[in-house]
């Protein structure tokens, strides 16, 4: 049986607010596990919503990132560059990933814990001095995650407003035009090129320095790949965890029973962060396409060679086949095979760092301000719109 005679246009009708998931995704998971969708750019593809299918689409080598092109369905005006690590398949993907993967092992990230705690403590001190209300987004989530990626990568923190703006434009779906995205992409590439040039006059002990050495000494990547990798690490390195920290704190503050439980039992923190990773939808539910290189059987039918598949973690993470009571935030959930970081060769390079950042920030916030709460009614929180990621524009908190 095929559903290909029916095409759902995305964005689906009707807005969702905050961290709500569009009911259409939930419906399709049950009625059309392989659903034909038409996206704003690149035409039609298949949307999969079941955990098993999302996992397969993420990890089965027959689903390729290198085969994506202008005619692959997407939600952003600009297609991703072909030389980005996210656009490559093994072994090309592995060649780039290995250049920096050692910096992101659980062991190396574990060694950064006390430094991350210091950075957060400093920001919480500033908040305490200012007094409530503070904005969790601008006073904690952004400065924390940007400080971390700047230090790791070797990007000056003072430049944050510039690259934050370029990132937001590149990651936009409807907030900016294609022309603006082209311009922002050129600007951030030019900016990275300057940082690279500086490392050629004087070696630096940071990830950009590592990449420059890999290019100049061992020719392990091209100049374009080097710039693109720098841009990817900078953008992915702060956009994701900054947004997700705001989302997670909002989720906790609007689930008082779970918040109280976490305060009572701080040892639940790692498990709580995993549950928040599962529960909190960072993306819009569509994700980035892969293209089948041969016919692949999924639970709802066959994807033919050359067709695009959209497999977002957001949907897999709410599949009742895998998670009991999937729409409930339960920080004591024990078995939690969420796909928030993906699965397979493209599993998030920064996953261990993100976990550590989220644990340190949430743990320290609750310890420092045990009575932390929203300073406005939950429905008055203003959310970002028109971008790939959700997040509160401001998250006013008091304590």
């Amino acid at each position: 049986m095929t559903n290909s005679d029916r095409v759902h246009t995305y964005p689906f009708e009707g807005q969702v607010s905050g961290l709500d998931i569009h009911p259409k995704f939930t419906e399709l998971r049950e009625t059309e596990p392989l659903a034909r969708v038409k996206l704003p750019y690149g035409g039609e593809g298949w949307l999969v919503t079941r955990h098993e299918d999302v996992k397969t689409a993420n990890s089965d080598p027959r689903f390729s990132r290198a085969s994506i092109g202008e005619d692959t369905p997407r939600t952003t005006p600009l297609a991703r560059r072909g030389d980005a690590i996210l656009s490559l398949d093994p072994p090309e993907h592995t060649r780039l990933r290995r250049l920096v993967s050692k910096a992101f092992t659980a062991r190396r990230i574990g060694q950064m814990q006390s430094w991350l705690e210091e950075v957060v403590a400093g920001l919480l001190d500033d908040m305490a001095r200012k007094g409530p209300p503070c904005d969790l987004t601008k006073d904690l989530a952004e400065p924390f995650t940007i400080t971390v990626i700047c230090r790791l990568l070797g990007v000056p923190y003072e430049d944050r407003e510039k690259f934050q703006h370029w990132s937001a434009v590149i990651m936009s779906t409807t907030a900016y035009t294609r022309e603006e995205a082209v311009e922002a992409d050129a600007s951030i590439r030019g900016y990275l090129a300057q940082l690279v040039a500086a490392r050629r006059t004087e070696p630096h002990d940071d990830l950009l320095g590592v990449l420059v050495a890999a290019r100049d000494e061992d020719d392990r990547l091209s100049e374009d790949e080097l710039i693109t990798f720098g841009v990817t690490l900078l953008v992915a390195g702060h956009e994701t965890s900054a947004h997700q920290l705001g989302n997670m704190v909002y989720a906790l503050l609007t689930h008082p029973d779970q918040l109280a439980l976490l305060r009572e039992r701080p040892e639940l923190l790692p498990r709580a962060v995993e549950e928040l990773l599962r529960y909190v939808p960072l993306g819009n539910g569509i994700g980035n396409a892969r293209v089948a290189t041969e016919d692949v059987e999924l639970s709802g039918g066959t994807v033919r060679a050359g067709e695009g598949v959209l497999a977002a973690a957001v949907n897999a993470n709410r599949d009742p086949r895998v998670f009991a009571d999937p729409d409930r935030l339960d920080i004591t959930r024990e078995k939690n095979p969420h796909l928030a970081f993906g699965h397979g060769a493209h599993f998030c390079l920064g996953a261990q760092l993100a976990r550590m950042e989220l644990q340190v920030a949430i743990g320290s916030l609750l310890e420092r301000f045990p009575d932390v709460r929203l300073a406005v009614p939950a429905e008055d929180v203003v959310w970002k719109s028109g971008g790939l990621f959700r997040g509160p524009q401001q998250l006013p908190i008091a304590w």
């Binding site: 990890s59 072994p91 592995t94 993967s101 659980a106 397979g344 599993f347």
Partner: protein, 76 residues
């Protein structure tokens, strides 16, 4: 390295987080079953794809040893 060299593979199931990175890079050697990596064979011919997979594990849960000497060849 001579043709007679054999590699021994080890997966530490306590550290394995089931990311699927190894299986994505070297599907002939690894698969993820119930959230943990399973080796296709404990011993193999040397294969650089395998080294890539082992070096890419963020949990450092995989090892390659020289089957004869027991020397650890990866991760570096």
């Amino acid at each position: 390295m001579t043709d007679t060299t054999r590699w021994r593979l080890e997966a530490d199931h306590h550290s394995c987080a089931g990311t699927g990175i190894c299986a994505g890079i070297a599907p002939d050697h690894f698969q993820v079953v119930d959230g943990r990596t399973v080796l296709s064979a404990a011993e193999t011919h040397p294969d650089e794809t395998l080294r890539d997979a082992v070096e890419s594990c963020p949990m450092e849960a995989l090892r390659i040893l020289d089957a004869d000497s027991g020397e650890v060849l990866a991760p570096s």
